[in-house]
Symmetry: C2
Subunit: 491 residues, 2 copies
């Protein structure tokens, strides 16, 4: 199976759109003459959030319709197996401290299907720190020391490395200090501590923050970075464990497909891929959803599991509540560029590197060895020096070579910025968005429930947050259908 | 509502059995003339494991019977509110890195219902380290330094502080080294490193290991301690976060009751408390469960959610498979004594202490301030210097005074060793049990599924493990009922 999404480049084939994907669903719909005319709930979007909501609702005996604009499940997290090796096009890493995702891994008995991304036992075993002036070859211990000490200076606004400002990172009830830091950019925070940073610390933490946000230092909320830090146990070591340590040996789509198949096995799931939603009409009688190709579906309730950045592409009648509309108009700032390179340099397996602030891709690491014996390098850029990796492959190659010289055999990527169903990568907030609008983003209206990793309370932006939100939505829809008189408690 | 379980002592009232509990269920059964004559599944035991299994099966539309010997839910985790303050009789602390329990906390929107146990801002702010010769008054920083350095010496069998021996602590596939360390006791491991430990490190880590195991150093599997260590992120700091940091402001039973109420609201749950099971007969036609008072129930499947140490109290026909019977005959070793003292010494709020090896209770900390302004001290003992806290309250008081002098107003506890439905506290393995029998403990037989925190893969022994296992059992029962031809895949 293959998806229209994603790109590959090789010397022989050049740039090609579309890649293999086990999450591409065939046939694209199971609707037929026996399909219900009206559903209990329609779920819009088949990323992890929508998959979780659809699965939980199906398991609970509700008649569910799942609509997805793409030809595949997974949304912003999916993998493509090429030459027997999974390339992760979006969300990749999972950790046992991410409660929702790990609960599912155990539930699907996939705890032995993980592997550790980095491997410092083979090859150069170095951290290459490049700036416009040149390149330093450092040890991974030196890397850790630079990052830990720099990040501790960045977050230490309370003498407790963020623990006082964000004591309960899964709480939606922000402390007063947290609210204050949400209106501050990382750029502003850096200005406060600039005298205390070494040049290497400055490069290291700026690149690290941008790796997290995919924005610029000015468009990155300092609170949201503190939130990631708190979730990661308030340490750089924790960040590494939570953010880049464990991944699925067979790729993300091998995980996502479990949700889909389980929902399907209940007999309660109708689905239609290639079905972008154009309009959602909500009346006292229920919800009518119209797709762009003119089909309409009726349901008692609807769950929008679409990202913040594409909410405005759907017409809602009545319109989105004011605060939600305001949040959709602002959007999130993450325009991450994630590029995989399969390279002949076996010794780069143990490479990590930063190339900043001049380079198009500013963070990279050796992430695996392919069956052909090549090294897999994964590299990240974003709004800082943004480029479109599919528009000029020479620019993309140049950005890779600007990290570390490599002999490139293959390039694989998904251009999230030009993806009409995402308009960006994982959620990251500009200053002020969360403190002004998190409650609005989470609120339901009428028969509509809004669920997305983009406004999860815990691991917001992560697969974990998507599952958190899909779980919340399914519980809320069940409660609303059982007790139609009660207002949904979603805030 | 009140439970028969638990004890309180005050000067005025003396020792009394039975305490208030919101987890005591009235009426004790909802069975009536409309109750089904046969169920899809009977769940034996209403601890977190049984509650989770019963809830998930009820939500999935199965007709569920929940049988419980006690008058309350929660099993080895329950709380009693006395004077407006929750005393935790068993399992207490939760953490966001415990995936199953945290997923439920988020699902029930209880993320703001937690508080931090310790508070070093008020009072003596000291760690009192007592042995038979006398008492040292140390700072909490000194406490951390002793414990961290001692524990790192204990676990560092691989030069990586256990990371190589237990790289995936949620995996049931043990490394060869892990298997080897499961046949070693902590006493044997201590003998290897005894020259390298300072006297304070030795006292500290022995008391800490016994706090975890509730056994003796000889009866404590070194692997199982490594497993806790790995789950706690391979650090003492992690142990504190995972093991004793966050608890429910309103007590554990305020959490457990959510599972029960949600199951009940489906209309699919029949329950009977005060209903100890005497016999389980399994035939090709299904399961018949007989209670001690002579009632019998029929179901297609049964989930035993009873602890390992009481499996032998039930007659199984056909009998338990050989390996499971062997495990039940061996049992686990944890005979933890957990005693709460409400004391007039306000300055002990910030106390932590060890009194070892001479004292009956060897570990304690200030755990809260009661509405009356008293300090709540929680203290732990176990098989080392074991005593029965209900048999002679003077002995219990002496063991408390042996930690730190205190003016005791109230004592609250549950004697887990004399509890016929637990025969001990949380699971902890003697050397060899896990490597020989973990697979047997997890295996199903015929129409029977065996689920318990005692043989969870991840946070075995914890509420998290109970939910992990209840989740697994409900999934397996659903699959077995959907596909009756397939053997259950439970190993």
């Amino acid at each position: 199976m293959a998806s229209r999404d994603g790109f590959t480049w090789t010397q022989d084939q050049g740039l090609k759109a579309g890649v293999p994907c086990i999450g591409a669903i065939q046939p694209p719909t199971n609707a037929n003459s026996t399909t219900p005319q009206a559903f209990d709930v329609v779920v819009i979007g088949a990323g992890y959030c929508g998959l979780t909501a659809a699965r939980d609702a199906s398991l609970a005996g509700l008649k569910v319709l799942l609509l997805e604009g793409r030809d595949r499940i997974g949304g912003r997290s999916w993998s493509s197996n090429i030459g027997g090796y999974p390339f992760e096009m979006g969300g990749t890493w999972v950790y046992w401290g991410q409660p929702n995702v790990w609960r599912e891994i155990m539930r699907y008995q996939m705890q032995d299907d993980l592997e550790i991304s980095y491997d410092f036992s083979k090859g150069i075993n170095q951290f290459l720190l490049a700036n416009a002036e040149g390149i330093q070859r450092l040890s991974h211990d030196e890397e850790d020391a630079i990052m830990e000490s720099g990040l501790r200076k960045l977050v230490n606004v309370d003498g407790e490395f963020g623990k006082r400002v964000v004591p309960f990172p899964h709480s939606g009830a922000f402390t007063a200090e947290a609210l204050q830091y949400d209106t501050m950019s990382v750029a502003a925070r850096l200005a406060e501590i600039k005298e205390s940073l070494t040049p290497n610390e400055r490069i290291g933490i700026e690149a690290f923050v941008l790796l997290c946000s995919g924005g610029t230092l000015v468009t990155t909320s300092f609170f949201e970075f503190l939130h990631w830090w708190a979730l990661s146990e308030y340490s750089y070591d924790g960040c590494i464990r939570y953010l880049v340590k464990y991944k699925f040996r067979e790729g993300q789509s091998s995980f996502a497909i479990r949700f889909f198949r389980e929902a399907l096995a209940t007999g309660n799931l109708t689905y239609a891929f290639n079905s972008p939603v154009a309009r959602v009409n909500d009346t006292r009688e229920g919800v009518t959803v119209a797709t762009r190709d003119g089909r309409t579906y009726k349901a008692a309730k609807a769950i929008s599991a679409m990202p913040l950045n594409v909410l405005n592409a759907v017409e809602f009648n009545p319109p989105l509540i004011r605060g939600k509309k305001a949040a959709a108009d602002i959007g999130h700032v993450n325009q991450c560029i994630k590029v995989h390179a399969e390279v002949r340099n076996a010794d780069l397996r143990s490479y990590t590197g930063i190339s900043y602030p001049h380079n198009g891709l500013y963070y990279a690491l050796g992430d695996g060895t392919t069956p052909a014996g090549n090294t897999h390098i994964v590299a990240f850029g974003g709004q800082h020096n943004h480029f479109q990796p599919d528009e000029d492959i020479q620019v993309t190659k140049q950005a890779l070579q600007g990290l570390v010289p490599m002999e490139i055999e293959r390039i694989v990527f998904h251009n999230w910025s030009k993806d009409e169903f995402a308009k960006g990568a994982w959620f990251f907030s500009a200053p002020g968005l969360l403190s002004s609008h998190l409650g609005d983003m989470r609120a339901g209206q009428g028969n509509l429930f809004f669920a997305s990793s983009d406004w999860a309370l815990g691991w917001r932006s992560f697969i974990d947050g998507a599952i958190e939100e899909g779980t919340r939505a399914a519980v809320a829809v069940r409660a609303a259908l059982q007790h139609p008189g009660l207002k949904p408690r979603l805030a």
